[in-house]
């Protein structure tokens, strides 16, 4: 299949592995920012294959993982209210809030519908005029434009029964928070290819220079990931703090201008609490004043989330690269996909889920707790 097979070519992959070994004179530590990349690396065994030349740390790029528990609890609370239909992406359903997940709430009667696009939620609001349809909007700059289009559509249609519960986050401030930490071990970043498709990567030059680490915009297929690692090691070996685009089939330097425009119309940048990482300055997107009427927090008089409540889950340490998922004392014992302590164990982009699924450390069809 075009655009898939050539990026999974085993012979090319093997060549790249050799090239990576050839270029590295020492073991470097690289952080792949996006959870989709983490899963790609582990799913294809790339991390294990390159263990001797590169340590891969898994970054904060799992939108589901960084959504504060209080926001999930708000979503559950709304879904249980009479006359409200809560819509969201499938990935969000299994993520635990303080006491339960949306899926568990659904079993207790909460009115929840999985959608594939925020525009489906707008359509539902049109079809169900007597129901308050709330779209629970999570995601980085990749998904935020679709939410923005949904909100502007709802405004154009003058839909009184549509609103959004937003937890949209921005990836660059999170990278900066990791890079500036005193105990930061990261030598270079593999930037999230899909986010850069929207935002471009020109803004990364400042970050790369300030923190003296190369940044390589990287895709998600095995060949993309291997090329990203290769280019990053090349830059590190050269002592260069440059920004390189290794995902040219999707990413332009300035990004997707139309998507950026709709984002700027509908959202404003704001400080945001991230689950696990705490308050990230300028780390989120909230509705601009013109669209505040569509904010579910205001419409349903919910308490605005200002701090991310800490829980037992050590997702913050995992997502900032301080510990690997397997170094968490709860990994595979108290915390499993069936009974997660936090989001990284259940999200399809969560680092702990990737380790649980693809590493040899947990015998998968026996109960790890036993």
């Amino acid at each position: 299949m075009k655009l898939i097979d050539e990026f999974r070519d085993p012979a090319l992959a093997q060549q790249l592995v050799e090239s990576i070994r050839g270029v590295a004179t020492r073991r470097w530590t690289i952080m792949e920012v996006c959870g989709g990349q983490t899963h790609g690396l582990l799913r294809h065994g790339i991390d294990e294959e390159l263990r001797d030349v590169v340590e891969l740390l898994h970054g904060p790029g799992c939108p589901v993982c960084v959504t504060p528990t209080t926001v999930i609890d708000h979503a559950i609370e709304l879904a249980l209210r009479p006359g409200v239909l809560l819509t969201t992406f499938g990935d969000m359903l299994r993520v635990p809030g303080k006491h339960r997940s949306l899926m568990q709430a659904q079993a207790e009667g909460a009115n929840i519908q999985m959608v594939y696009s925020p525009l489906d939620a707008v359509k539902l609001a049109q079809e169900l005029p007597s129901t308050q349809v709330v779209f629970f909007a999570v995601g980085f700059e990749t998904t935020a434009p679709a939410t923005a289009i949904a909100v502007s559509q709802a405004e154009a249609l003058d839909l009184p029964n549509f609103s959004v519960l937003t937890a949209h986050v921005r990836v660059e401030p999170a990278m900066e928070a990791i890079a500036q930490a005193e105990d930061c071990r990261v030598n270079g970043f593999l930037a999230a290819g899909h986010v850069c498709t929207i935002t471009g990567y020109e803004q990364y030059h400042k970050l790369a220079q300030r923190y003296r680490m190369p940044i390589v915009v990287t895709g998600f297929e095995p060949i993309d990931l291997l090329v990203g690692i290769y280019r990053c090691l090349q830059l590190l070996e050269q002592g260069s703090f440059d920004v390189v685009n290794a995902y040219t089939r999707s990413v332009r330097p300035a990004g997707n201008l139309a998507a950026q425009e709709i984002l700027q119309q509908v959202f404003v940048v704001a400080d945001q609490p991230w689950r696990g990482l705490g308050e990230v300055p300028l780390g989120g997107l909230i509705l601009a004043s013109k669209f505040r009427g569509f904010d579910a927090v205001d419409r349903f008089a919910l308490e605005r989330t200002t701090v991310a409540v800490e829980d037992e889950c050590q997702s913050g340490a995992v997502m900032s690269g301080r510990i690997r998922p397997t170094q968490c004392p709860h990994f595979g014992s108290r915390c499993t996909p069936q009974s997660p302590l936090g989001a990284p164990m259940v999200s399809t982009e969560g680092a702990c889920s990737a380790y649980y699924r693809y590493s040899n450390l947990v015998p998968l069809n026996t109960s790890p707790a036993s």
């Binding site: 999974r8 085993p10 499938g90 999985m114 995601g139 060949i223």
Partner: protein
């Protein structure tokens, strides 16, 4: 005056209307007319007097007996419908157990208000499929439940098959070195149903593989292949079967992802949604384990019948390791394949 609980007369939408009513399932004249018109007319083997049980003829050997319930949404999808599925699902469970499907029961649980026309379409599909598979529907039951107590139509079928002497499917017998084959392209059913339910607009529609596996089993028997285990990879897909077999035999199983036959539509949609085709349900595709020396004759036999014409070798049984099931993808390194857990949820981005 208290008007009392809301109540409506079941005869309001009585027999003769275009909707199923409670009257159709409550015994008496309404039920009897319904059964005669809708069921007996299509399934001549059901005793015309509707006796409480059917007497079956003697068969020489052992019998296999199985049951399954069908609750698919939507009821119709490219390549099948709930009626076809209800026959195929149970017949395939018998087939992969080495039993020729012979007799089936048919139980319908219908939601009040369900369209008679749609019900007739489903019943026609059941009759056609049963004839095509070569099974007789010999007994059945119909219940109608109030609105909201079911999602349109649920079907249960139980099936009896005639065991083929000497043919035993038992994953306990797998040993390292045995080969794993798949009978055809994977993941078509689950994705076809998903694409229909979610109304994905695709240029080329996904079609369910819903089909009878008995011809594929029969051809293996005829070719005298000493199959060690057979299993149709329904819910949980190939991954679920591999995990069950690994547990049963106590060894590890390893498959090569790129050896699995897959249509372009399945690859495209699963990539788009971030769903692994190894986890998606099939309804006419099975895994077969054979000793290594029988790989070629088994593939030749399977490829001689339409349902398994794209059969392929996909993996092997290996000595026990900490990982019960692993998969080789781009790099030659095997990576653990986890056990399916609940519904497949598409990723955010």
């Amino acid at each position: 005056m208290n008007p009392g609980p809301t109540w409506h007369c079941p005869t309001n939408t009585g027999v003769g209307s275009d909707r199923v009513s409670l009257l159709h399932g409550e015994g008496g004249r309404g039920s009897r007319d319904f059964l005669r018109q809708q069921i007996a007319a299509r399934f001549p083997q059901i005793n015309a007097t509707f006796a409480d049980a059917v007497h079956l003829p003697n068969v020489p050997g052992r019998l296999a007996f199985t049951t399954d319930s069908f609750v698919v949404s939507p009821l119709f999808f490219p390549g099948g419908d709930i009626g076809k599925l209800a026959i195929i699902g149970t017949a395939n469970d018998l087939a992969v157990s080495g039993a020729k499907p012979r007799w089936l029961s048919l139980s319908l649980i219908i939601e009040e208000g369900f369209s008679i026309k749609v019900l007739e379409q489903v019943l026609d599909s059941i009759a056609t499929t049963a004839e095509w598979v070569g099974v007789q529907v010999v007994t059945g039951d119909t219940k109608v439940v109030p609105v909201g107590c079911a999602d349109g139509l649920f079907i249960n079928t139980s099936g009896i098959g005639e065991c083929i002497p000497g043919f035993v499917s038992n994953a306990n017998t797998l040993v390292p070195g045995d080969a794993l084959l798949v009978s055809g392209p994977i993941a078509q059913h689950g994705l076809a149903v998903l694409a229909t339910r979610e109304r994905f607009q695709m240029h080329s529609p996904l079609v369910s593989d819903c089909g009878s596996l008995w011809p594929a089993v029969q051809t293996l028997i005829d070719a005298q292949i000493p199959c060690k285990a057979l299993r149709d990879a329904t819910r949980g897909g190939i991954a679920a079967v591999l995990h069950e077999w690994a547990t049963d035999c106590g060894h590890s199983l390893c498959v090569e992802q790129n050896q699995f036959p897959m249509t372009a539509e399945v690859r495209g949609l699963s990539e788009l949604l971030g769903i692994d085709p190894l986890f998606v349900a099939n309804e006419g595709t099975m895994l077969v384990a054979v000793p290594e020396v029988y790989v070629e004759p088994a593939l030749t036999a399977l490829r001689s019948v339409p349902i398994s014409q794209n059969a392929a070798r996909v993996g092997r049984v290996e000595p026990k390791s900490i990982v019960p099931v692993s998969v080789r993808r781009t790099l030659s390194r095997p990576v653990p394949l986890d056990e399916p857990m609940g519904a497949l949820l598409p990723r955010i981005c």
